[in-house]
Symmetry: C3
Subunit: 205 residues, 3 copies
């Protein structure tokens, strides 16, 4: 695993862990709940990726410092955030970063293992969305991927293809990974800001 | 993998994908949601089967045409079904076909890998019911396997044993697979038609 | 696998299966539902453990007598418990035993495979809590691990570390396993009895 991939993985883990801890605190969970949700959000997508692609040992078992970091974050977060609840809308940015990082890393691993672009893009979307979907399900929210809301999974899918094309054109992993993940994170933030949707309901659910 | 198995797998995937897309549309999901639910319903059971039996690569990674087919179906379905919502009761037939196909294919793979009839029947039931259970959970329905409703999982279990006995008696895979899956699909349709249950509640929940 | 580990595994399976069947009956499920919930509760945690640690074949596939035992228990339980519903509070003891056994067995397998104490304790907590979390989710209860309630996952975590220290000090697996699991089961029962919590809400949810 290259240094770039490792660095991105750490960024994605921190971002998704923060998003999970914010939701857990907004539900007034105790420190163990905050750690658990942070852990599952940060590591769920990558674990699914490694299980489906038979890539053992699962990455956080090989990199012990990653769960230790999440544990430290949960302790700090629980005490720092004791007084007030954080508004849940604050999760949009960390969630967009985590979505970008893990979509691209999932797709990159799949390419490395010799899968086709189409299969790699599906595995990218799964890796990027599964942690957040577990977070929302466990906290009794509808996962973003199923909300009739601003586009989410389709950005992850498009970003994977942008990564493939860059990689095929430039043959430079660092550039391609960066372009792909910036695309996902920025477009997701714009989609939330300008309320971009695939479909508008005339009938409200 | 024999041609018969491949053909049946495609039938099961199409049937389960249709059942997932009908439920997703009845919840008014956008095209990405329709694809996601169709994909998870069609491929969830088989993925669980391959993970538990350590049968890598997972089948739809090896057979790229299967997720591509589901994608094409989702696009057609989303636009064709734009105007009206489909009644959810329409899913009974595709769900029964998917249940039959995947139960038998799960049991067949387990036999091939040398497991006993009992273990193979459990793996058959898991493979047959897991995709539909994910579909119903993600769409906020109670999964069939937990409804106090017409028999479901027990038909899948019985069908697996009928398949084993046929296979042991005739030594002809095509015949045995067909008998087993027809049993499950037909009995399930009859159970819904004539309201066959294991237990009737005097006290309504 | 040593005899002690096998014996403990059977105790944990029986305890968790009973806890699952009690909840399933209290929801008035039919015999198939009772078996399914009992099966998932008893074998869910260990299956997750074996998948994440790539420990194949999954244990209940290797030990066919375990699912057969659960099937027999479900048949007996469904008919014996036909008349009255069991109060759900009865699950605290079997759940505490299952939590203790599977936490320690998950941690023990991880140590055996050469993982660090920290990783092994995480895998222990996952193995101990996942079956019960599936049971509660499938039966529409909030899983213990997310309830703002008496301590649960933290006891499992502490018990794993007590097991490591015993094992490192005494080099006697039977003693260490017993001390670790007794700690978890007894402390969990005391926590419920004396209402020990990590955090008290001033604001009720």
């Amino acid at each position: 695993m290259s240094d770039t991939v490792y660095l991105l993985e750490m960024i994605g883990i921190v971002a998704f862990a923060i998003s999970g801890m914010i939701v857990a605190r907004s539900k007034n969970m105790d420190p163990v709940g905050v750690f658990t949700i942070g852990f599952i959000t940060a590591l769920g997508g990558g674990t699914l990726r490694d299980l489906i692609m038979d890539n053992h040992p699962v990455y956080w078992i090989r990199h012990e410092e990653q769960p230790i970091l999440i544990l430290a974050m949960a302790i700090v977060f629980s005490y720092w955030n004791r007084a007030g609840r954080m508004r849940e809308s604050r999760i949009v940015l960390p969630d967009a970063i985590g979505l970008g990082v893990f979509s691209i890393l999932g797709a990159q691993l799949a390419l490395d293992l010799g899968h086709s672009w189409f299969i790699a893009s599906l595995l990218g979307v799964m890796t990027g969305t599964f942690g957040g979907a577990l977070r929302d399900t466990l906290c009794n929210e509808v996962p973003y991927i199923f909300r009739k809301d601003q586009i989410y999974a389709s950005i992850s899918f498009a970003g994977c293809w942008i990564y493939f094309v860059c990689q095929w054109y430039f043959h430079n992993e660092t550039i391609s990974l960066t372009v792909g993940l910036l695309f996902i994170t920025v477009v997701r933030m714009l989609a939330v800001r300008f309320d971009i949707r695939l479909q508008r309901d005339s009938m409200q659910p």
